[in-house]
């Protein structure tokens, strides 16, 4: 350590400060980065909104009340105002969080599972499986992301479930590529060779050894990706191609509020801010996790 410090100094660069204990806990490393704490807070708030919606004394999000049409922020009975049908915006934000987050998380889970399996198979078995999977990934990546999602909607038709599938499919190549990369580097590592020497089967090696050692990379990649998933799902809803009425997420709230932009800007700005802060939260948390867990991911 000491020799290293002075060597860096000898190159005319600032020597690194004394490091604390070599292995700090993940939490304390994350906590050192104030921005990732902000991110964690924002994520926690949006998750709280999604979970607590049924338990809080909120107004019925679908109760139409024409007398409260486009009520302003702070209007009696409507803390954050009401939309064009007089529905309570605060309540709709809480209930909308459920849909928005559920779609994004489900899409992430699907993309991660499918992409991971493709990446594992491709990077571990190589040969024709790798050729086929890599070609498919190449073609999917040749599409501008959002265009691919639109193409899926064009095939399956608009809807909540189809929107989720579309967003998931777009991100499959992202996970497949990352996992293929880590698998390629891990398959020749000593512990995999040792496991193989001890007679472990392919399935065991893949899931027990390679997958377990890719977990931190996957966590970082996922967190960095959820923000995009939320944006994309909300964008589909905004275009009227995702969630369909009467169900509504933040994207559809924004789209319907847009028609009353001059009279009641809060009806579209509030759901917009909700999306922005949630996406910002995931991005900040992802940045922090990456720096703490897997600095190599900077290049991705």
């Amino acid at each position: 350590m000491s020799g290293q410090t002075s060597q860096i100094a000898a190159e005319g660069k600032a020597p690194e400060a004394e490091k604390g204990p070599a292995r700090q806990s993940l939490l304390s490393r994350l906590a050192q980065n104030r921005l990732s704490l902000v991110g964690a807070f924002l994520v926690a708030v949006s998750i709280f909104m999604a979970i607590s919606a049924p338990f809080l004394p909120l107004a019925d999000p679908n109760a139409v009340n024409t007398s409260d049409r486009l009520a302003d922020i702070g209007a009696p009975g409507h803390l954050l105002g009401a939309d064009e049908l007089g529905r309570d915006i605060l309540s709709r934000l809480f209930w909308g969080a459920r849909i928005t987050l559920a779609v994004a998380l489900a899409a992430t889970a699907i993309a991660m599972t499918v992409g991971t399996i493709m990446g594992l198979v491709s990077g571990y078995f190589l040969g024709w499986a790798d050729t086929v999977i890599s070609r498919v990934v190449d073609v999917l990546m040749a599409f501008p992301y959002f265009l691919l999602a639109l193409s899926v909607i064009a095939i399956l038709g608009p809807g909540l479930l189809n929107g989720m599938l579309a967003v998931a499919l777009v991100n499959v190549p992202f996970f497949a590529r990352i996992v293929r990369g880590t698998t390629l580097s891990l398959r020749e590592s000593d512990f995999v060779l040792a496991a193989r020497g001890m007679g472990a089967g392919h399935t065991r090696i893949l899931f027990r050894h390679i997958l377990m050692n890719s977990v931190s990379t996957l966590i970082v990649a996922t967190t960095l990706n959820i923000g995009w998933m939320i944006t994309a799902a909300a964008a589909l809803s905004f275009l009227g191609l995702g969630v369909q009425p009467p169900t509504s997420d933040w994207g559809t709230m924004l789209a319907s509020g847009r028609q009353y932009l001059s009279a009641a800007p809060h009806t579209s700005l509030l759901p917009g801010l909700a999306i922005f802060f949630t996406v910002l939260g995931f991005n900040l948390l992802g940045d922090g996790l990456r720096d703490a867990l897997d600095p190599r991911m900077r290049e991705v």
């Binding site: 073609v139 959002f146 639109l150 193409s151 399956l156 932009l261 922005f276």
Partner: protein, 315 residues
């Protein structure tokens, strides 16, 4: 360079083939029979059968693909089922508008993103650096539809500086009218890319500035401004161009949303309507054209990349 160009060109062939398969399959992957969808629910069984035969739907898929691909290559993309017009001229007209929008967004993203990134790296840890990077950090998370609506509220409705929709005034207009209409959509679409470019440029510059060859340049007596703008920037631009290539895909995709927000008469806005109306020839044509052009943009980016980095050019 020529060898590299040919190798890279050859790589686009399987990708273009894959895209065409996917676009061709759209009609067949959709639930229900294509002929049913094209004719609507009121069609008689006979007319559906006739159309199936006319469309070649009773032939093997491979044969259908070959004849479809042949027609596409000749520019025959069929007729829009909603507009009942030839697809290609319609798409080309609208694609021009999309290209103008995307080019505007790209220009904004490059000028502001790269410029701010360089300045932030040059004055690392300064107030400018901190503020710019904080804005960029937030900017990366701004969804287009939210930025767009906020921009309309502030700059079109409140301040009344710029128009909020369309490409030209209703009565028609000149290039300056176009530019005035372009500002808000282009900035909205390019904002995220500008933020990403600013962050990437900054980190690429900081990385390059630490390199031995920058020290060599200083040891030669090269001035600080020249060190940054010639020696460092030329190397950092290799990273920046890579990011730029990825951003182009984001811009083409994001143009769909931007066009909807700003009623910009581009191919994306049309595509959304076509999807809602299940106008398959139109959707297929649009996806094929946008995806193909993206492949060639990527090709151009790779050429630029090779031109910037002699280690690729001469290998």
């Amino acid at each position: 360079m020529r060898k590299y160009l040919f190798r890279r060109l050859a790589q686009t062939i399987p990708v273009l083939f894959g895209i065409s398969i996917l676009v061709f399959a759209m009609l067949h992957l959709a639930p229900g029979d294509p002929a049913d969808m094209l004719l609507g629910s009121e069609a008689t069984a006979e007319s559906v059968e006739k159309l199936r035969h006319d469309m070649g739907l009773d032939r093997p898929l491979a044969v259908q693909y070959v004849s479809w691909a042949g027609r596409m290559l000749q520019g025959d993309m069929g007729r829009s089922t909603v507009l009942n017009r030839q697809v290609l001229p319609e798409i080309i007209k609208r694609f021009k508008a999309t290209l103008i929008l995307t080019a505007g967004a790209l220009t904004f993203a490059v000028v502001f993103g790269v410029g701010i990134g360089i300045l932030a790296a040059t004055y690392q840890h300064s107030v400018f650096d901190s503020v710019a990077m904080l804005i960029a950090l937030a900017g990366v998370s701004m969804p287009i539809f939210f930025t767009g609506i906020a921009a309309i509220l502030i700059f079109a409705m409140d301040l009344r500086w710029l128009p909020s929709s369309g490409m030209y005034p209703a009565a028609g207009g000149d290039i300056f009218d176009l530019l005035r209409h372009l500002v808000l959509p282009a900035v909205t679409l390019g904002a995220v890319s500008a933020a990403i470019l600013a962050r990437m440029t900054r980190s690429a510059m900081l990385e390059v500035i630490r390199q031995d060859y920058v020290r060599t340049a200083r040891a030669k007596g090269v001035g600080e401004r020249r060190v940054i703008w010639v020696h460092a920037l030329r190397n950092a631009s290799i990273t920046v161009v890579t990011v730029l290539g990825m951003q182009f895909g984001y811009l083409l995709g994001g143009s769909v949303i931007t066009e909807t927000v700003f009623s910009w008469p581009g191919v994306g806005q049309m595509m959304v309507r076509a999807i809602q109306a299940r106008d398959y020839p139109m959707v297929q044509g649009a996806v094929l054209l946008v995806a193909t052009s993206f492949v060639f943009v990527n090709l151009a980016v790779d050429m630029l990349y090779a031109w910037l980095d002699p280690r690729i050019r001469y290998s």
